[in-house]
């Protein structure tokens, strides 16, 4: 058993933050000061900390500090709390927490919800349990040591008496919050590690759960924005005469992103926008196209780069190498294209700005609202709504800013929606990058030098381009990784697994190519280079076994392998493809993941399946292109997603581990495209080093 000093805010601090006048961002918590919970109206509610409310009817509400977008934290996080609380799972309810500084960062990204909240939520549950046991011991007038908690009750076995949590809340409320709590021995876990069904499973199949797009307020207007089409462009004039004739359209007015059409319903807004005539100024990038961006990136590689990893002397090692292999890789811009396009509802009235946003980043939404309205901090309120997918896109707050600006045009609440086309054309894309890799081998074909130089369209935060490039896991004595940035007007952002998407593709294609060129089995070759990386080896062992790696395959079939570490987790993927008259087909994907302690194995599997599909989609079709200063893709016909008829069979294996839990949502993505490319190389002998495949397969 381990005792961890509780870092949870105690109730007094929490109360001060929740109700004190200095607390700017605090919303949504209610303390039963006068014996009633102001939300539920129940007589007494025990609120031991910011993550939990235990009600007198035995319901346990777990408050979510992060947002739900399909990663199923609405089930995984409650499992963590319920485990330590010894709660009755059937009594658990989930409440989305609003923006509140007691939670620290509420950004949902970096595959971090479970790994960063694990300790906190365990402590939250354990603290509440300790207080309930204390309350029961006092009630029964027996020593605490004779009581234990189980399934929502405190038991006193000697006298065979039990008290439900709900019956203890009044007394528990009066107790001091213990500073140190004992956490359970993981060997005794019976909720963590089990494949509980999603708590919101019914709502997802009967149409009842609400996403941002479904949000509704009385008298709410709906708006769409005719957005400036070209990067750096602007509005010259607009004529709203015809738009205003559309029944239901109430107002047309410019905002910074374009011209907003406000209406009584979505269809009127969409029709109004169609009728709107806008004269745009093309701006300085009207000639920009993908070819020019690609050329810029290639030319940039001629410059000296900023070094982010240097070990040994790669230049010398290359010169003295027996053999050198060079490859240049290129990947395109990618859009996230979540199934639910961006949207946000805002109400600006009487000096108050209230926002309802499907967002991964309520903090950024708050800042967007603040910067537009300049209202006092306490008058800006953010409510986080459920997302229909996000994948990093909803970390941005451009759509929140739109909504606030539009809401300033009316006293009524307004939901600003984007069409698919607007959403695709106004993304924050996974950046396009170019990579030059030169490796040297000694006379025993041992890899002695690795030189990776990459270029990307970024003049700000480099890791969005370089992340993972400087973490090559392979044991190579001389390594140099450097980058050169070019400036482009296309917004970029974190796309599921961020820079690992491109850098894993480069690492895993290159290592595979070396294995192939030197006649070695790609798996055995990697194992050799990963001798000191037991967790990499662990996932390799699993995929070797379950993919039947190296065993004879049917005719016209081949397998490709990739392994990659990201977001503290290890994933290996084997992809088996076939070639028939109709072209290449992805038959089977075998994946292994080591993500430490598993909270919900089925949830992990779901994320791995989804990550593989996203990786395959990117490798096969994914490409945002630019022509005449604007994005060319407008809908799913020219930004294709994988469909069910192209879906391979996916088998997933999870490494058993007692290490702390690590990322799950993103790590399966990076190794997928290179595993596919390596399978193609194995089948056809052709090394394809540019994504997506569609342009190269014919």
């Amino acid at each position: 058993m381990n005792s961890i000093e509780s870092k949870l805010l105690d109730r007094r601090q929490f109360l001060k933050l929740s109700t004190g006048s200095t607390a700017a961002l605090v919303l949504g918590f209610c303390w039963p000061l006068n014996g009633k919970d102001s939300v539920s109206g129940e007589d007494v509610t025990f609120v031991p900390n910011a993550y939990l409310k235990i009600h007198s009817n035995d319901t346990v509400s777990v408050i979510m500090p992060r947002s739900e977008m399909g990663q199923k934290i609405y089930t995984a996080l409650p499992q963590i709390v319920a485990e330590e609380l010894e709660a009755d799972w059937s009594k658990i309810k989930v409440i989305q927490g609003d923006l509140n500084e007691v939670y620290g960062s509420q950004t949902t990204g970096g595959s971090a919800s479970v790994r960063t909240q694990y300790d906190r939520l365990r402590k939250a549950g354990a603290t509440a349990k300790a207080m309930l046991i204390q309350a029961a011991a006092t009630t029964l007038n027996v020593p605490v040591s004779e009581c234990h908690a189980e399934s929502g009750y405190v038991h006193h076995s000697r006298s065979d008496r039990i008290l439900s949590y709900g019956s203890l809340v009044a007394l528990a409320n009066t107790l001091a919050v213990p500073k140190n709590v004992i956490l359970k021995d993981p060997k005794a876990f019976h909720i963590i590690g089990k494949a509980y069904k999603s708590l919101d499973g019914v709502g997802k199949v009967d149409g009842s759960i609400k996403f941002g797009y479904d949000f509704e307020l009385p008298e709410m207007l709906t708006a769409v924005v005719a957005r400036i089409p070209k990067y750096g462009g602007s509005i010259v004039t607009f004529d709203a005469t015809e738009a205003l004739k559309v029944p239901g359209v109430t107002k047309v007015a410019p905002i910074s992103a374009g011209v907003a059409v406000l209406a009584e319903n979505s269809w009127a807004a969409l029709q109004g926008r169609k009728k709107l005539v806008v004269k745009w100024n093309d701006g300085p990038h009207a000639k920009l196209n993908s070819k020019k961006i690609s050329d810029d990136l290639h030319i940039a590689l001629e410059q000296e780069g900023t070094i982010i990893r240097a070990e040994g002397d790669t230049d010398k090692a290359l010169k003295t190498a027996e053999r050198q292999i060079d490859l240049t890789f290129e990947v395109p811009y990618l859009d996230h294209a979540p199934q639910e396009p961006n949207n946000c509802t805002a109400h600006v009235h009487n000096g108050i700005c209230e926002i309802w946003a499907p967002t991964q980043n309520p903090g950024a939404a708050w800042w967007a609202a603040k910067s537009v309205t300049q209202f006092d901090d306490e008058n800006i309120k953010i409510h986080t709504l459920r997302m229909g997918g996000a994948f990093g896109r909803k970390l941005q707050s451009d759509y929140v800013r739109d909504a606030v600006e539009v809401a300033q045009l009316t006293k009524l609440p307004v939901k600003v929606i984007r069409t698919r086309s607007e959403d695709l054309k106004n993304g924050f894309y996974r950046p396009s990058t170019v990579h030059q890799v030169k490796v040297g081998l000694d006379r025993n074909n041992k890899l002695v030098s690795w030189n990776h130089k990459l270029s990307g369209p970024q003049d700000g935060w480099a890791p969005i381009i370089t992340g993972g490039a400087d973490e090559l896991a392979y044991d190579i004595p001389n390594q140099k990784v450097s980058y050169v940035m070019t400036k482009q007007p296309i917004p970029i952002g974190a796309w599921r697994s961020v820079a690992h998407t491109q850098n894993a593709f480069v690492h895993e294609s290159m290592v595979d190519e070396v294995a192939r060129k030197t006649g070695r089995d790609p798996l055995a070759f990697r194992r050799e280079l990963l001798k000191n990386r037991p967790r990499h080896l662990g996932v390799l062992d699993l995929v070797e076994k379950h993919s039947k790696w190296g065993k004879p395959l049917k005719d016209n079939r081949a397998q490709g392998l990739a392994v990659h570490y990201s977001f503290n987790s290890y994933v290996a993927i084997v992809i088996e493809i076939s070639e028939a008259k109709k072209g290449l087909h992805v038959e089977r994907v075998t994946a292994a993941i080591d993500c430490g302690t598993v909270i919900n194995p089925d949830g992990v599997r779901a994320q791995v399946e989804g990550g593989i599909v996203m990786g395959l989609t990117a490798a096969l079709y994914g490409e945002i292109t630019i022509d005449q200063g604007e994005v060319e893709q407008t809908n799913f016909h020219n930004y294709r997603l994988l469909k069910m008829d192209k879906m391979p069979e996916i088998n997933i294996h999870i490494v058993e581990s007692t290490e702390p839990p690590t990322g799950v949502g993103e790590p399966p993505v990076p190794p997928t495209p290179p595993a596919l490319m390596n399978a193609i190389a194995a089948l056809t002998g052709k090394r394809l080093s540019r994504l997506p495949l569609k342009s190269q397969l014919g």
């Binding site: 399909g70 199949v205 009842s208 996403f211 269809w267 997302m387 994320q607 599909v613 989609t617 879906m647």
Partner: protein, 152 residues
């Protein structure tokens, strides 16, 4: 404006909207049935699928005037009197990730099973390939359709 009448989830429904309005927006905005989703608006993804006279139709490109006198079933109507076996199978096989595409997936799957009680994998692929899921739940959708077929 003229009143348009159709049967919605078992009840007569009249709406007073421009006849060219897509059924999707009539359901969502006028009738507040938001279970039917917007995702592409061009008939390319299937998130907006409902049944019209028992056939799966993409409601984003279907003018409401075309359903006059017809019978429309949405995801809300499907489970109104207890969950449909397909919905149960979806829960059993834990299909949904974000859930946004799932009403369209489920409505399409129900129509498939109405026609073909025991579809093969390739029947399923044929029927479902127009319904996109960005979260990548296809493997589980296929499994859940088999589950529903076995249990029905």
């Amino acid at each position: 404006m003229t009143l348009l009448t159709f049967t919605l989830n078992g009840k007569k429904q009249s709406v007073d909207v421009p006849p060219a309005t897509p059924l999707l927006w009539v359901l969502r905005d006028t009738l507040k049935l938001t279970g039917t989703k917007y995702s592409c608006g061009k008939g390319l993804c299937g998130s907006c699928t409902v049944h019209v006279d028992g056939e799966p139709r993409k409601s984003c490109t279907l003018p409401v005037s075309k359903v006059e006198g017809k019978t429309v079933l949405t995801i809300e109507g499907l489970g109104a009197r207890g969950l449909h076996p397909v919905q149960k199978a979806w829960i059993e096989d834990e299909v949904a990730q974000c859930g946004y595409c799932q009403p369209g997936q489920i409505m399409t799957a129900v129509a498939l099973l109405d026609d073909n009680a025991h579809p093969t994998d390739s029947d399923i692929e044929d029927a479902m390939k127009g319904i996109l899921c960005r979260c990548g739940t296809y493997q589980r959708i296929k499994k859940a359709i088999h589950t529903a077929a076995e249990e029905a």
